[in-house]
């Protein structure tokens, strides 16, 4: 069976969308670099603090102090975003005479950390609820 829409779809696919401007590419590169650098700084600080904590711990044990149970060391294991629930409402007229459809979007972000040593989990559920207006085109 042949697809009657194939020729149109093929012609559409041959259209070449305009690429993002150089300003966008440059801004994006700066943003990615900045994020990577911030992450590097955090990792460096974490490594330094870990070494310091280890040194204090070793000194404490060496001096014969009582060892308290360690607090769980949670590691980020999963970040999930639920499928958004979208509600469309009746169109409304805006002050400028145009029409827009109110849309309510709800979803949930779930972040999970785990501590393998104590086999414990920490889960953060964050519900999101946004109301927005989608402009409607009228001819």
């Amino acid at each position: 069976m042949t697809d009657p829409d194939h020729d149109i779809a093929e012609a559409l696919a041959s259209l070449r969308p305009r690429p993002p401007g150089t300003a966008v590419t440059a801004r994006l590169a700066r943003e990615l670099d900045a994020s990577a650098n911030r992450r590097g700084v955090i990792i460096a600080w974490s490594a330094g603090l870990s070494a310091l904590a280890a040194a204090f711990g070793a000194a404490f044990v060496f001096l014969g102090g009582a060892v308290e149970p360690e607090a769980p060391a949670y590691q980020l294991v999963r970040v999930e975003q639920s499928r958004p629930d979208v509600q469309f409402f009746r169109p409304v007229q805006m002050e400028d005479g145009s029409f827009a459809r109110p849309v309510r979007v709800r979803w949930q972000d779930t972040t999970r950390w785990e501590d393998a040593r104590s086999n414990t989990r920490l889960i953060n559920y964050r519900p999101n609820d946004q109301l927005t207006l989608l402009p409607l085109e009228t001819n």
Binding site: P4, D5, I8, A9, A11, L12, A13, S14, L15, R16, P17, R18, P19, P20, G21, A23, V24, T25, R27, L28, A29, E31, L32, S35, L76, V77, R78, V79, Q81, R83, P84, D85, V86, E95, D96, V103, V105, Q130, L131, T132, L133, L134, P135, L136, E137
Partner: protein, 167 residues
């Protein structure tokens, strides 16, 4: 959590897919500048929070673009005055590189004449590289509705092009 795309060069990935992603952002925004802003915000959000997730990153980036576009529309109420001055350049700025073939040029123009709900299905299918199931997920409609909008859009585009060819 292990990074499922640890070896991915995301700048190269963006360079390869940026044009079609920008088109997806463009059809959900009012201006070229908004499309650039949405694309940048969406990709950075994906890169920061979701790039390590397994599976094809394409659908995640498209979801992020839609979310950013909706955020921008919500914020749009606060800059209504500027929008009135700048206006909606939906009909005046080309979304595609110029085409020498008049049939292709007519097709590019005709895309803007489609109802928004049909146009977004076409854009997500052709340039978003999504299946009808995935489009249904994106737009919170059934795959059958997505496929139906696609068929109506193809029919409308065929009529537009035929009319333009006879003019």
């Amino acid at each position: 959590m292990p990074d499922a795309h640890a070896d991915q060069d995301w700048r190269a990935w963006f360079a390869e897919h940026g044009a079609r992603l920008r088109l997806i952002a463009r059809q959900w925004t009012r201006s070229e500048a908004d499309a650039d802003d949405v694309l940048q915000e969406a990709f950075v959000r994906f890169w920061k929070h979701q790039r390590h997730l397994p599976g094809n990153p394409n659908a995640l980036v498209v979801t992020s673009i839609r979310r950013s576009a909706l955020d921008l529309l919500r914020r749009g109420d606060r800059r209504a005055a500027r929008e009135k001055v700048v206006g909606d350049d939906m009909d005046t700025v080309t979304w595609f590189e110029p085409e020498a073939d008049p049939r292709l040029a007519a097709l590019a123009d005709s895309l803007k004449l489609l109802p928004a709900e049909q146009r977004e299905v076409v854009v997500l299918k052709v340039w978003g590289d999504l299946t009808f199931d995935e489009i249904g997920d994106q737009l919170s409609i059934s795959p059958n509705t997505a496929a139906s909008r696609w068929r109506y859009a193809m029919e409308a585009l065929r009529k537009h092009i035929t009319a333009r060819t006879h003019d």
